[in-house]
């Protein structure tokens, strides 16, 4: 299979890339890891007239913690960089759990977190993770940078709120208010398949009282878009984690899911798995806030 014909540009600076996008109009696309875009172009689901390859841009492959404790992930940081990151393992349990279960190892060597957010696939893992963490992206355009909260960024299936001449230069997780715990669990039929369901839970607790200072829960694969479940997260907040609060959050998360019955399972089954995953992740966090709820539900 071949992609349709397109013009290819590989700019050496961000300004040059933004100018190319501005001049390219609606038919221009940014190419980062290409692990979703190239397959879509081969299937002719996407036929951009101009491809702006940002892989040659310097200084975007970082992921780092700033002095205030916020985590910054550059536009060219690959999934594999995050999978093997000691920084994530020690400070970002939800992200550390998600990174190894993105697609497969070969795709993880190319694909990027920021690209995944921009692609906004309803079954994309990172959008759920970043929603649960209260994350945001930094978009750069001709007139400078602006911050877009994930809740305002992914607005539907394959839909984000970038202007056509803007590039997301980094994704950011704000500093934790207390001890971070949580995790990401995904049910998939085999490695690399789209998620039957995926659940991201991020919890921050006060080290003295044990009360949950902030919680986030988000879902993928169980609706026409990534689903944020703030109501379910609210059930965890305010008090120390308890069996009752976790059960309430699990029920609310299952209600927030909008699964459809398909070859990956019935809607009822997927809803049940959402609740189960919330209980597993939050239950693990309650048992030991320093334990990472890792991996998939094998």
């Amino acid at each position: 299979m071949y992609p349709g014909r397109f013009r290819y540009e590989a700019p050496r600076s961000l300004d040059e890339a933004i100018t190319l996008l501005r001049d390219g109009g609606d038919e221009a696309k940014v190419l980062a890891g290409g692990q979703s875009l190239v397959p879509m172009m081969k299937l002719r689901f996407a036929s951009p007239e101009l491809l702006v390859d940002i892989n040659g841009l310097p200084g975007l492959d970082y992921h780092t913690t700033q002095a205030d404790g916020s985590l910054h992930v550059g536009a060219l940081c690959r999934h594999a960089d995050l999978e093997w990151s000691a920084l994530l393992k020690s400070s970002q349990p939800t992200m550390a759990a998600a990174a190894p279960v993105i697609a497969d190892p070969l795709v993880r060597n190319r694909g990027t977190l920021v690209g995944s957010l921009c692609h906004a696939d309803p079954q994309g893992d990172w959008a759920a993770v970043m929603l649960a963490l209260g994350g945001y992206v930094v978009a750069q355009g001709p007139s400078g940078k602006r911050v877009i909260a994930l809740t305002d960024f992914v607005t539907g299936p394959f839909t984000n709120t970038l202007a056509r001449d803007e590039i997301v230069v980094e994704a950011v997780v704000p500093p934790a208010r207390g001890i971070r715990s949580g995790g990401y669990l995904k049910l998939e039929r085999r490695v690399g398949d789209f998620a039957t369901c995926g659940v991201a839970v991020a919890i921050e607790t006060d080290p003295a009282s044990g009360a949950v200072t902030r919680a986030g829960i988000a879902l993928c694969g169980v609706g026409g878009s990534t689903i944020n479940a703030p109501g379910a997260a609210a059930a965890l907040a305010g008090e120390p984690l308890s069996e009752e609060s976790i059960a309430a959050a699990a029920d609310l998360a299952a209600s927030a899911a909008q699964p459809k019955t398909d070859h990956r399972g019935s809607a009822e089954y997927k809803r049940h798995m959402v609740a189960t995953f919330v209980i597993r992740i939050a239950g693990g966090a309650a048992a030991d806030p320093n334990t990472l709820a890792a991996g998939k539900a094998a």
Partner: protein, 175 residues
């Protein structure tokens, strides 16, 4: 280097085919190519350079038969544009052996019967090469994890894993 394209009807009639000139190395040999940006890396390797050890299995980023190393990192060459290797190093399965000797990975697949039909084998070896370069002493679990993006339709995974562990041991013994 000449690349012959499939005639896709409507599009082939267009006169202004965009062509780019790229320089890259493949298995240590320096190459210059004039290609359309939409050419996939797998096609550059197979049709352009003529190295057919890199297989195309699914063409949909699922099977990993087309795995090659780009700057030492295993990737699926059906999901990367050939223009993107401009200035980079590509290694294919043909780059593993020396003239007189098989690479320990190839020897391992022979010793442990790591292949049946052999179609997935080049991809398996290149993904395994990526693993062993990073982790010379992998556990069985590490091997299974690293190969989880490569499908074997003969379902010969057991012996594939054994082959990679055999190669790891050989490489460690050789120092």
């Amino acid at each position: 280097m000449t690349v012959v394209y499939d005639d896709l009807g409507d599009e082939a009639a267009e006169s202004d085919v965009p062509v780019r000139r790229i320089k890259f190395s493949i298995n240590g040999a320096k190459k210059v190519a004039e290609i359309e940006p939409r050419l996939l890396l797998a096609h550059l390797i197979r049709r352009g350079v003529g190295l057919t050890g890199t297989h195309m299995g699914c063409d949909t980023t699922n099977c990993g038969a087309c795995t090659v190393l780009v700057d030492g990192t295993p990737i699926k060459s059906c999901t990367m544009l050939a223009v993107q290797v401009d200035g980079h190093e590509v290694t294919t399965v043909e780059g593993l052996a020396s003239l007189s000797e098989l690479h320990p990975l190839q020897e391992g697949f022979k010793q442990e019967h790591g292949l049946q039909c052999g179609f997935c084998t080049p991809g398996m070896m290149m993904a395994a090469k990526g693993l062993l370069d990073r982790n010379p002493d992998p556990t069985e679990e590490d091997v299974r994890w690293a190969l989880s993006g490569n499908l074997c339709r003969c379902t010969g995974y057991q012996n594939i894993v054994k082959s990679v562990l055999w190669a790891a041991e050989k490489l460690r013994a050789e120092g």
